[in-house]
């Protein structure tokens, strides 16, 4: 990497960290540390919410997903604006009225301590795992592509985040996220512009989009109702609403962002701002992936995007086979490029028959290309079965490193680091807050001074930061990083949301019923998820050997529905008594 890129990247990141630390140097009480003096305007809240959700994985994985699978992933976010409105109407007023530090505090007033503790524990479990992935995901990719040490990349990201989160707490998180989000949006916009500028001079932007469409990559909306299809309009609108209600309404890393708002109105506006902006922003990120796809129709891409894997095969007994496959790939690419140009010519002259012929040729070449790439993956696996053969996460970073000019490489790397730091800081801040407020101050050391809890909050931030770093050091690459984080979330979010929905809308349900319902629902959600894997092994029992794969987004809906149904049913069996009766009438 060029010295100028190092200066741009390091300068950007150090400026953000220094600015955040300096702006929050006077934080001296636990309320200020955990709720940031409640003085943030709506645009800071909105950007902070967006930055918390948009991790580095978003900017590494999403363009790669569009490159491979088209734009249908945009549907994942379709439920978000609806969820934002529901939160503004039902959740926010309750949190503001009760003046809580965490979402889980409300559950003790409504139900009892054990329900609050169970929900907070589920949050710590899911978010604690995700925090490690948030650091590890960009570190493994950057270290592989740039030849950096994975250990030092993990350590640098982790230590920078821990430093300013410990010093300034919630306020430092929000202040830095505003800067980080500006860098991220600028960087992605610049990447899109550069991709258009790098197209051949005889290929216009319109041609590029049309080619992507004819090659089946612009499939943004799919109305087919198919439970096993991960991304459709229905999974986004139904499963997605439940996922986002749970994530934004009950995940402390998000709740803490809008609880630090100046007023209820500012928090509402921050959430609605996020609801409006998020879908178009995700469209832009996916569209960058589409432009990378079109770019690689005119510039030959590597036969496999993870160069470190190729180097290992080149040093093995399979080097000759790899060279032969690479040569085949080059031939197919040349013929495919010709077909793309024929397609463009046919589209310009509105020759429908020519378009169809070119499309059929292209489909054949794409199939051949996919088959060669698959054979290369098999070679990688034969060389070392422990190597990860999935390379979608390396597509965008390969373009950045090899095709962007000096200076912009540093800016785009700063984007990826900023995204990693912004989401990790929120997570550490929320994990520490929940640990202090819902466990330490509530059940362990109940009568200490404000100063004691301030130090405890900082101590727990360091502890969760160290745990996340440790997890990042020992994690291994998942099939697709962004999906791994979402799957972990989906296993627990449904249950957590179910508890909150019962609290808000089923006033007659008491603590014992909802507690038992949550335990049973969580057990069943995990069973349903695992049954997808059992099926792969042709589990010999009758009903389990049937196809039983449910896309993970639906787990949110299933978990939530199970909690609500079981809680209402159990309460019916238990009758009108039980703990939580008084609280319920007050709730």
């Amino acid at each position: 990497m060029h010295l100028i890129d190092w200066l741009v990247m390091a300068g950007t990141l150090l400026f953000i960290v220094a600015y955040g630390t300096w702006k929050t140097r006077s934080v001296s009480s636990v309320k200020s540390y955990l709720l940031g003096d409640k003085d943030l305007p709506w645009w800071t809240i909105g950007l902070s919410i967006m930055a918390t959700q948009a991790s580095a994985i978003t900017f590494l994985s999403t363009p790669g997903q569009a490159f491979d699978d088209g734009m249908r992933f945009a549907q994942f976010y379709f439920g978000m604006p609806v969820a934002m409105v529901i939160l503004c109407v039902f959740f926010l007023p309750v949190y503001y009225r009760l003046n809580v530090y965490t979402a889980y505090e409300y559950l003790e007033g409504r139900f009892d301590l054990k329900t609050r503790s169970l929900t907070a524990f589920l949050f710590l479990l899911s978010r604690g795992l995700a925090a490690g992935i948030t650091i590890y995901a960009p570190a493994i990719i950057l270290s592989t592509i740039l030849g950096w040490s994975l250990f030092w990349t993990n350590l640098v990201i982790g230590l920078l985040v821990i430093f300013y989160t410990v010093v300034g707490g919630t306020k430092a998180v929000s202040v830095t996220q505003k800067q980080q989000m500006i860098i991220i949006l600028t960087g992605m916009f610049v990447a899109a512009v550069m991709l258009v500028l790098k197209l051949p001079s005889d290929v216009s932007f319109g041609d590029a989009v049309a080619v992507a469409g004819k090659m089946g990559k612009l499939n943004v909306v799919d109305f087919e109702f198919d439970l096993s299809n991960r991304y459709t309009f229905w999974s986004g609108m139904l499963g997605g609403v439940f996922l986002f209600l749970s994530y934004f309404g009950t995940d402390q890393s998000q709740v803490q962002r809008y609880l630090s708002g100046k007023s209820l109105a500012e928090s509402r506006l921050g959430l609605l701002f996020n609801g409006i902006i998020k879908v178009p922003m995700q469209f832009l990120v996916l569209f960058v992936g589409i432009l990378v796809f079109v770019f690689f129709q005119f510039v030959r891409p590597p036969v496999h995007f993870n160069n470190a894997n190729l180097e290992k095969v080149e040093q093995s007994a399979y080097a000759g086979t790899l060279a032969a496959l690479d040569s085949q790939h080059e031939d197919v690419f040349s013929q495919k490029q010709e077909s793309v140009r024929e397609l463009i010519g046919a589209m310009r002259s509105e020759d429908e028959a020519g378009i169809e012929v070119a499309q059929q040729q292209l489909a054949g070449f794409m199939q051949q290309e996919a088959s060669i790439r698959q054979e290369v993956k098999a070679l990688i696996h034969f060389t070392d079965p422990n190597l990860e053969t999935e390379d979608n996460d390396y597509v965008f970073i390969t373009f950045v490193i090899h095709y962007l000019p000096i200076g912009l490489v540093g800016l785009l790397l700063a984007v990826i680091f900023s995204a990693a730091m912004s989401s990790t800081s929120s997570e550490l801040n929320a994990l520490a807050t929940t640990t202090v407020i819902d466990f330490y101050r509530r059940s362990i050391r109940t009568r200490e001074t404000d100063r004691h809890y301030l130090h405890a909050s900082k101590g727990f931030t360091v502890m969760w930061g160290a745990l996340a770093l440790l997890f990042a050091m020992f994690a291994s690459l998942f099939d697709n990083l962004i999906e791994a984080v979402n799957i972990v979330g989906s296993l627990f979010y449904g249950t957590i949301l179910g508890i909150f929905l019962v609290a808000f809308f089923f006033r007659k349900v008491r603590a014992d019923a909802v507690f038992l319902a949550a335990l049973v629902a969580e057990f069943l959600v995990i069973c349903i998820y695992l049954m997808g894997f059992l099926d792969a092994f042709r589990f010999p029992f009758l009903w389990m050997s049937l196809q039983f794969y449910i896309a993970y987004l639906w787990l949110n809906l299933i978990g939530c529905t199970l909690v609500v149904v079981f809680a209402v049913y159990l309460q019916f069996l238990m009758g009108g008594g039980g703990r939580g009766a008084v609280a319920a009438s007050r709730g």
Binding site: V209, V220, A265, L269, I276, F283
Partner: protein, 44 residues
């Protein structure tokens, strides 16, 4: 956890009531999805 009065009457900017702003967000979202649908069909 303390109970605090909240200014429920606080109006959103531009709109006269919160429900109008919520409706605006949802209608805008429906329009965006409709545009995506047209985009998908136009280029497929």
């Amino acid at each position: 956890m303390t109970h605090e009065p909240i200014p429920e009457h606080e109006r959103p900017p531009v709109f006269r009531a919160w429900w109008q702003l919520y409706a605006f967000v949802l209608i805008l979202h429906a329009l965006i999805i409709a545009l995506f649908y047209v985009f998908t069909h136009h280029y497929s």
